[in-house]
Symmetry: C2
Subunit: 338 residues, 2 copies
DNA sequence: TTGAAAGCGCTAACAT
DNA sequence: ATGTTAGCGCTTTCAA
């Protein structure tokens, strides 16, 4: 069933059907109705590939998100959708597995959907100029910046928190409560990841306050996974590690960590304080409520869209915005007992 | 930058470039290398719209999931991806907002990606034959069935749990522990939703065991939302409702419910037991661990793909598979104190 | 207000 | 082994 069949079905030309499809004014009302009826009766659904192939301009902004089940990214996507729509653009969302290549995905999407620009979510930290040449539209990295790549600063935009600094702040929050033996839980997924940056922040905080870094206080998870996090913390405890507080690199892993502590007979926060970074809505509902540094998702989404539309419309230039987290005091941090 | 440009760039014809792109054997090795180099140097990325438009057959199976942040669906998607890939097909994932029309989305995707079939996740319960005629390929509803629509049974496949019966089982689990005053938490999103079916199950369990249905023991959430669930349970308690156990229609809402109970000074399970339906991995990590009826996500995914590929390959017919949940005993259910 | 016709970028016969 | 060419379904001039 094509536009041609519909045209034949109601005795008009394909251009007329096309006009109806695209709400062009130059169609007589009765003809318009006749075509509409035909479309309905034939269950005709236009082929977007063909449309995209031929139509020159679009209003599409691509959002390429790596990781299907990262809840922080999900909340970001929701706000992005709203912001993009508000500015009169259309969001084309592409979620890809963590193992996939987001740049390639974006490049293909750019051609398929005639994108005006791309917003990357949860991508890698080490893009090269070479690989980004696949893209011919402007892009912004949301939640991260190209720390380890060789991109020129004026070649893209980014919105992110200072991961290292914020992790340092998290540890300092624990320090300010009197903790001195502070453990850390992180994923050892890759070397150029958010986890590593936050781990650096952990070490810097210790150093800054004259504490020794003790590798025996590091719990590693093989993957970014709650079971692994749970096991990691259990192993730490079972190994006899002596700590009164735990810094976790993300809210999701912190949930598993609190469970491990509880199951091993350590009350949170009495026996062990826990702090994390992210600020998921969900961790408002853990018992106890998680204390965490919230990333300003709404602000990050707004900034990303602002920057991108600025460049698309020629009114802005590439920038790199750093946003601040906000401490959300739950009930998972207290002074150490001893 | 098109295939034509690449062809010109290295002095061959477009067909040769096309052959290289599609790994056709009939290209001399040195030519193949030359073309590959050109593709790299030109940062050429093929236009999938054009490819899809012209190529007749594909191996694509569409997965259309309504609801970006339903964690149960996320886990399903992961398994579906694996299963589809294993059978030599390609998964084309489309996640759409709850407000969107999944049938229309699927129909557009069908044409764009030349789908062989569609798997719907989290869709509506009331499809009409008429609207489904937009689709010209077979489809299966995963996690639900067309309870309220007029689809003929042999027009589609489905894999789901018996929502009403399972909810009934959940309540009976509470009854078996000696509970008699059992409250329920549900979303009043729509009338034809999973929530309603499970609510029916709640009422049936009471009836079956000679207990009166008390509207005063129903907590409603406006939306499917943790904050609403939390407020709903608080309102129930503050209103003086007298109950020793709570049945929640989903794991996510149960997390919020347990938090509300805890915040209002009711210990789970000592003062109030909680049971839910879903079996998210995450609720293994709540404190206390949630007792819940687990939907067999892996089995559901496998069955869905089996059914669909069976029909695609002509070796199967449309069926409606009902799967059983498994009780995962956490620590959120105990005998009532009084 | 309508229709005819030229492509959009690509694949797949068909020729060579 | 490589090139030529006819479309895929649609939008968009341009003419009528």
């Amino acid at each position: 069933m094509t536009i041609k069949d519909v045209a034949a079905y109601c005795g008009v030309s394909v251009s007329t059907v096309s006009r109806v499809l695209n709400d062009h004014p130059d169609v007589r009302d009765d003809v318009r109705e006749r075509v509409r009826a035909a479309i309905r009766e034939c269950n005709f659904v236009p082929n977007n590939s063909a449309r995209a192939l031929v139509s020159s301009r679009s209003t599409a902004i691509g959002v390429v998100s790596r990781g299907v089940d990262n809840p922080f990214l999900s909340s970001l996507i929701r706000v992005l959708g709203r912001e993009i729509h508000q500015r009169g653009y259309t969001m084309v969302l592409q979620q890809i597995p963590t193992s996939a290549d987001e740049v390639r995905a974006a490049a293909e999407l750019e051609r398929e959907k005639k994108l005006l620009g791309v917003i990357f979510l949860g991508g890698r930290f080490n893009y090269t100029e070479q690989e980004l040449r696949q893209l011919t539209v402007p892009f912004v990295c949301c939640t991260y910046t190209n720390t380890f790549g060789d991109l020129r600063e004026d070649a893209y935009s980014s919105v992110s928190i200072r991961d290292e600094e914020e992790a340092c702040k998290a540890v300092e929050h624990l320090l300010s409560h009197g903790h001195r033996r502070i453990a850390v839980l992180l994923d050892d997924a890759g070397d150029s990841s958010i986890g590593q940056l936050r781990f650096q922040g952990y070490k810097r905080a210790l150093e800054k306050h004259g504490l020794d870094y003790d590798p025996g206080l590091v719990a590693l998870t093989g993957a970014y996974d709650m079971k692994d996090a749970y096991d990691g913390v259990c192993a730490l405890i079972d190994g006899g590690a002596d700590f009164t507080a735990l810094m976790v690199i993300s809210d999701a892993l912190a949930m598993a960590a609190m469970k491990a502590l509880t199951d091993r007979g350590r009350k949170v926060p009495e026996d062990c304080s826990v702090i994390a970074i992210d600020g998921l809505d969900m961790t408002n509902y853990t018992v106890p409520t998680l204390t965490t540094l919230c990333q300003p998702a709404a602000e990050m989404a707004r900034e990303s869209v602002d920057m991108l539309t600025g460049i698309i419309e020629g009114t802005g230039v590439h920038r790199h915005k750093l946003v601040e987290t906000t401490l959300r005091e739950g009930a998972s941090v207290a002074a150490p007992r001893r």
